[in-house]
C-alpha cells in the first residue's frame, strides 16, 4: 500500500506534523498540571490558614467575652449569674456555663438545652482539671474536645478565674462549654470555589468537630490527615489535594484541614489536556486533510498521467492525460500529451504507409498470382496489362516484347481503345529509338518521368493525351530482356521510389510469368510432338509386328508342312534344312516379340493379362519341353525339381512362362557341360523359381548391366545369340508381377537366376482379366 505515492506522502506528512504537536501538548500538559497543583495547594494552605485564624478569633472572642464578664462582676453572685445566663441565651455559642466558688461549689449553672434544677455537676468537680487548673493559678484553661452525650455535639470547655475586682483575689471559677456550631456556620458561609472542603478535626480523637455539613459532625465522622499537605485520601473525595493548619488552643491543638478533589483542582489542567488533545486531533485531521488534498493535488495528476501512459503502452494511442494544472505537473502532462500526439501521428502515418505498401504488395502478389496461373501467352499479356492498370488505378499500361532477331520492341498488349488501335497498327520501337521504352530496354533499368510535359525526351502519344507521368520498367529474367512494361498515369508525380521498387519487382514477376508462358508453349509443342511421335512409334510397332507376323505365319507353317512330309516325301537332309529354317523363323519371331515388349515397356504400356489361377507346373513342363532340345548335342543334364503341390498363382500366364523360358534357355545356351538345375517351390506365399547352371558365369564387372536393355555379356555378343533384351524384359515382367528377379554368379562355376513371385499379390488380383 505504501508503495503508492498518496499513502506514503500522507504518512510522512502526518507524522512530521503531529509528532511535535503531540510532544508540545504533552509538555504543556505536564507543566500546567504541576503548576496548577502547586497553585491549588497554596490556595488550600491559605484557606486553611484563614479558617484557622477565624476559629482562633472565635475562641479568643469567647474567652475575652467571659473574661470581661468576670471582670465586671468580680464576685460569684447573682449578678454574675444573670450575666452568664444572659450570655448563654444571647448567643448559641455556649452549651453550658458553670460558676463555682473557691470551694468548688456550684454557684450558678446554666444549660442551653437542659433544664437545670439544682446543682447538676457537683460531684468531684474539685478534682477536675478545669477547676484545678484555675485554682492553681492558671489564667485560662481549655479542655480537650469531648462529645456531649445529650446533644451529640463536640464541645470544649474554657475555664477562667473570677477575681475580686479590687483585691484581685480569686473568688471563683467559671467553666463554660462552648460549641463549635458557629464554626460550622462559618464554614458554611465560606464562599469557596472549586469544591474546596474545609473542616476541623480534633487530633486526639480524630473526630471531625466542624464541618460545613453538620451531619458529618453529628455522625461522629473521624478523619486523620495523611500529612501536613499534599495529595491523598480526603474526606470529601478519594483523591484530594489537602493542606493542614494546626491551631493551638491552650495546651491542645485543633487541625484545620482544607481539601480539594484533584479532579476539581486540576479541572483546568484536564480541560487544558482535553483541549490540547482536541487541538491535536483537529490538527491531525486537518493535517491529513491538507496532506490528502495536497498529495491528491500532486499525486492525482501524476497518477492520471501514469494511467494514461499505461493505456498508451497497451496500445490506445488516442488517450490523453487529463491534467489541466499550470504547475510543473501540468507542464509535464502537456509535454506528455504532445509527445503522445506526435507518436500517434507517427504511428498512424507509419501504419498508413505500411497499409498502403501492404496493399500495393498484395496487389502485386495478386496480379503475379493471377498471371502465373495463365500459361497461354496470347491470353496472359492482355491480362497482365488490364490487371496492372486496374490494380494501381493507372491511365494506360502496355507491354512491349523484345524481339531479339529484329532488335526491336514489339507491342504485345495494351489497355483501352488506344491499346487496340496501337495493336492494330502493330506498334513497335527499335532499340536505338528515342523514348522511355527503348531507353528502359537499353539501360535494363526502369526509366521514370514524373512530369512528361516538362521532359525533353518524352514522345507524346496522340492516342494518350492525358498522360502526365510515365514509368517504363524492363522485364528481365536472368540476363534475358523479355520486354518492357510501360505504365502511364494521368497524375503528375504518380510514381515514388516505393512504387518504382514495387513495380520493378512486379515487372520481374510478370517477366517470369511471360517466360513461363513462353516456355510452357514451347514445352506444350514439344510434348505434343513427342506424343505424336510416340503414337507413331506405337502404331508403327503394332503394325510392324502385325505385318511381320503375317508372312512369318506362312513361312513357318508351309516349311513345317513340307518338313513333316505332308506335301510329299522329304529326305533326311531336307528335313534337317527345313528344321533350321523353322528355327530361324522362330528366332525371328522371338526377336519381333522382344522388340515389341521393350517398346511397350519404354512407352509404359506393358499391360499384364492377369489370370487368378495360373498353374505353373504346366508352364514349367512346357518350358522344359521346348528348351530340352537346346541341350541335345551337349553334355549337359537338365534336372527339374518342382514341388508337387506347387500352388497356382495370380499373374500373366504367358509372361511368367516368358520369364521362365528366358531363364532356362539362357542357362541352356551358355552351359557347355555340367547341368541346368530348375527348382520351383513355394514358401510363405512366395513362389521361387530358380535356374542354376554350370556355365562360365558372369564377370563381376558385368553384373550391373545384366538387366539393362540391349546389353549383352561379352559371351552373348560372341555367340551371337539373342538380342540382349530377354533379361531386361524378364526383370521388368517380374516387377510388373510385384516380384523380383535376381542372380548370383561366379566366373567358372556358373550362375543362378532366381525369380520370386508373390503367390497372390493383392495388386494383381485387382487386375484379373
Amino acid at each position: 500500500m505504501f508503495r503508492r505515492l498518496q499513502p506514503r506522502f500522507t504518512l510522512i506528512f502526518v507524522s512530521t506534523t503531529i509528532t511535535p504537536l503531540l510532544i508540545i501538548g504533552l509538555l504543556i500538559g505536564m507543566v500546567s498540571i504541576d503548576r496548577l497543583s502547586t497553585q491549588a495547594q497554596e490556595r488550600l494552605i491559605e484557606t486553611a490558614n484563614t479558617v484557622a485564624q477565624q476559629i482562633e478569633t472565635f475562641i479568643t472572642t469567647r474567652t475575652q467575652e467571659l473574661n470581661l464578664m468576670m471582670a465586671v462582676t468580680g464576685l460569684p453572685d447573682d449578678e454574675a449569674g444573670d450575666l452568664l445566663q444572659n450570655l448563654l441565651l444571647r448567643t448559641n455559642a455556649y452549651e453550658r456555663i458553670t460558676l463555682l466558688d473557691n470551694n468548688a461549689n456550684v454557684i450558678h449553672e446554666f444549660s442551653r438545652s437542659q433544664t437545670i434544677d439544682g446543682p447538676i455537676r457537683t460531684s468531684n468537680l474539685e478534682m477536675r482539671t478545669e477547676y484545678v487548673a484555675i485554682i492553681t493559678g492558671n489564667p485560662v484553661y481549655y479542655s480537650d474536645v469531648f462529645i456531649d452525650a445529650n446533644i451529640r455535639e463536640p464541645l470544649m470547655t474554657v475555664s477562667l478565674p473570677l477575681s475580686d475586682r479590687r483585691t484581685g483575689t480569686l473568688r471563683g471559677v467559671v467553666i463554660a462549654e462552648f460549641r463549635f456550631r458557629p464554626i460550622w456556620e462559618l464554614l458554611t458561609d465560606l464562599d469557596l470555589d472549586g469544591d474546596v472542603n474545609v473542616f476541623v478535626t480534633d487530633p486526639l480523637m480524630n473526630n471531625i468537630i466542624a464541618h460545613a455539613d453538620p451531619s458529618v459532625v453529628l455522625r461522629g465522622t473521624q478523619f486523620t490527615p495523611s500529612g501536613d499537605f499534599g495529595r491523598g485520601n480526603g474526606q470529601s473525595a478519594d483523591d484530594v489535594l489537602f493542606a493542614v493548619q494546626e491551631l493551638p488552643v491552650g495546651g491542645n491543638r485543633l487541625l484545620v484541614i482544607a481539601e480539594q478533589p484533584v479532579s476539581t483542582a486540576l479541572a483546568i489542567a484536564q480541560q487544558l489536556g482535553t483541549l490540547t488533545l482536541l487541538v491535536i486531533v483537529l490538527a491531525t485531521i486537518s493535517a491529513i486533510a491538507v496532506v490528502t488534498l495536497a498529495v491528491r493535488h500532486v499525486v492525482q495528476p501524476i497518477k492520471r498521467l501514469s494511467d494514461t501512459a499505461q493505456q498508451i503502452q497497451s496500445g490506445d494511442l488516442s488517450m490523453r492525460a487529463d491534467v489541466t494544472s499550470r504547475d510543473e505537473i501540468g507542464d509535464l502532462a502537456q509535454a506528455f500529451n504532445n509527445m503522445t500526439a506526435q507518436l500517434q501521428d507517427l504511428i498512424a502515418n507509419l501504419e498508413r504507409r505500411v497499409e498502403d505498401r501492404t496493399r500495393d504488395l498484395q496487389v502485386a502478389v495478386d496480379v503475379s498470382k493471377q498471371v502465373a496461373t495463365v500459361l497461354n501467352l496470347p491470353d496472359l499479356l492482355p491480362l497482365i496489362v488490364e490487371r496492372t492498370k486496374s490494380a494501381y488505378g493507372l491511365y494506360h499500361v502496355s507491354i512491349y516484347q523484345h524481339d531479339a532477331d529484329q532488335n526491336r520492341l514489339q507491342l504485345a498488349a495494351a489497355t483501352g481503345t488506344a491499346g487496340t488501335i496501337m495493336m492494330e497498327m502493330e506498334n513497335y520501337f527499335r532499340l536505338d529509338q528515342p523514348g522511355l521504352i527503348p531507353a528502359a530496354a537499353r539501360a535494363r533499368k526502369p526509366v521514370l518521368v514524373n512530369n512528361v510535359l516538362a521532359a525533353d525526351d518524352h514522345l507524346p502519344n496522340p492516342l494518350l493525351p492525358l498522360t502526365r507521368a510515365e514509368l517504363a520498367v524492363p522485364m528481365i529474367v536472368g540476363d534475358t530482356l523479355l520486354g518492357v512494361l510501360d505504365l502511364q498515369s494521368s497524375q503528375f508525380d504518380a510514381f515514388d521510389d516505393d512504387d518504382l521498387r514495387l513495380l520493378q519487382s512486379l515487372a520481374e514477376q510478370l517477366g517470369v510469368a511471360v517466360q513461363n508462358a513462353t516456355l510452357y508453349a514451347q514445352q506444350l509443342e514439344i510434348t505434343e510432338e513427342l506424343r505424336r511421335l510416340d503414337n507413331m512409334k506405337s502404331q508403327f510397332l503394332a503394325s510392324m509386328s502385325h505385318e511381320l507376323r503375317t508372312p512369318l505365319n506362312a513361312i513357318l507353317n508351309f516349311t513345317q508342312f513340307v518338313r513333316m512330309g505332308k506335301l510329299g516325301d522329304v529326305n533326311a537332309k531336307q528335313v534337317d534344312a527345313l528344321g533350321k529354317a523353322i528355327k530361324s523363323g522362330e528366332h525371328l519371331l522371338s526377336l519381333i516379340n522382344d522388340v515389341l515388349d521393350v517398346a511397350k515397356i519404354e512407352a509404359g504400356m506393358m499391360e499384364l493379362f492377369v489370370e487368378d489361377d495360373v498353374d505353373l507346373k504346366i508352364e514349367i513342363d512346357t518350358v522344359v519341353a521346348s528348351t530340352s532340345t537346346l541341350l541335345d548335342d551337349k553334355p549337359v543334364v537338365m534336372r527339374v525339381d518342382v514341388q508337387k503341390d506347387l500352388p497356382n498363382v495370380v499373374g500373366d500366364r504367358r509372361r511368367i512362362r516368358q520369364i521362365m523360358l528366358n531363364l532356362v534357355s539362357n542357362a541352356c545356351k551358355y552351359t557347355s557341360h555340367g547341368s541346368v538345375h530348375i527348382k520351383a517351390y513355394a514358401q510363405d506365399d512366395v513362389l521361387t523359381f530358380s535356374v542354376a547352371d554350370t556355365g562360365m558365369g558372369i564377370p563381376p564387372e558385368e553384373h550391373a548391366l545384366i538387366f539393362e536393355s540391349f546389353r549383352q555379356t561379352r559371351e552373348g555378343l560372341r555367340t551371337g545369340n539373342g538380342t540382349g533384351l530377354g533379361l531386361a524384359i524378364s526383370h521388368r515382367l517380374a516387377q510388373e508381377h510385384y516380384g523380383t528377379l535376381t542372380f548370383t554368379s561366379e566366373v567358372g562355376s556358373g550362375s543362378t537366376f532366381i525369380l520370386m513371385l508373390p503367390v497372390r499379390a493383392p495388386e494383381l488380383l485387382k487386375q484379373v482379366f
Binding site: A542, S545, H546, E547, R549, T550, P551, L552, N553, A554, I555, L556, N557, F558, Q560, F561, M564, K566, L567, G585, L589, N593, L596, K600, M605, E607, L608, F609, R654, F769
Partner: protein, 133 residues
C-alpha cells in the same frame, strides 16, 4: 456323323492357304469354309450349308473388321451363341482385353503353332476360353 465346321474369315491368302492345309492334313474330322473378305458377311453366313461349330475372324478384314463382324453375329438370332475367336497377328494386351470385352470366346495369335493350334481348337470347342496361347 457330320464333320465339325470351321469358318475362317481372312483377307491374307497365305494365311487362308495355311489354314486350309492345316485342316486338310491334320484335322480329318473338320470341314473349313473361308471368306476372303467381309462383304455381305451376314448373308454369306446365313447361306452356309449348316451351322458352323467355330468361327475364326481375322481382325483386319475389309470392309468390316473383326469387331464389327462379331457384333453382327451376336445381334443375329442364329449366331448369337456361336463360338467366335479372333485369329490375329496383333499381340498388344489392350487389344486382347478389347477382344474379350467385345464378346469373343478366345484369341489365337499368328503365326500359328500347328501343335498348339489343334489342342487349342479342341479346348475352345469344349467351352474353354483361350487367349493368345
Amino acid at each position: 456323323m457330320s464333320k465339325t465346321l470351321l469358318v475362317y474369315v481372312e483377307d491374307d491368302e497365305m494365311s487362308r492357304d495355311v489354314m486350309a492345309l492345316l485342316v486338310e492334313t491334320s484335322l480329318e474330322d473338320f470341314d473349313l469354309i473361308t471368306f476372303e473378305d467381309s462383304h455381305n458377311f451376314m448373308s454369306r453366313m446365313q447361306a452356309l450349308p449348316k451351322q458352323p461349330d467355330l468361327i475364326m475372324l481375322d481382325i483386319h478384314v475389309p470392309p468390316l473388321d473383326g469387331f464389327q463382324m462379331l457384333r453382327e453375329l451376336r445381334q443375329s438370332d442364329q449366331f448369337a451363341a456361336s463360338k467366335v475367336i479372333a485369329l490375329t497377328a496383333s499381340v498388344m494386351n489392350d487389344e486382347v482385353r478389347r477382344l474379350r470385352d467385345a464378346g469373343f470366346n478366345g484369341a489365337i495369335s499368328k503365326p500359328i503353332n500347328q501343335t498348339q493350334f489343334m489342342q487349342n481348337i479342341e479346348r475352345i470347342l469344349n467351352g474353354e476360353q483361350i487367349w493368345l496361347i
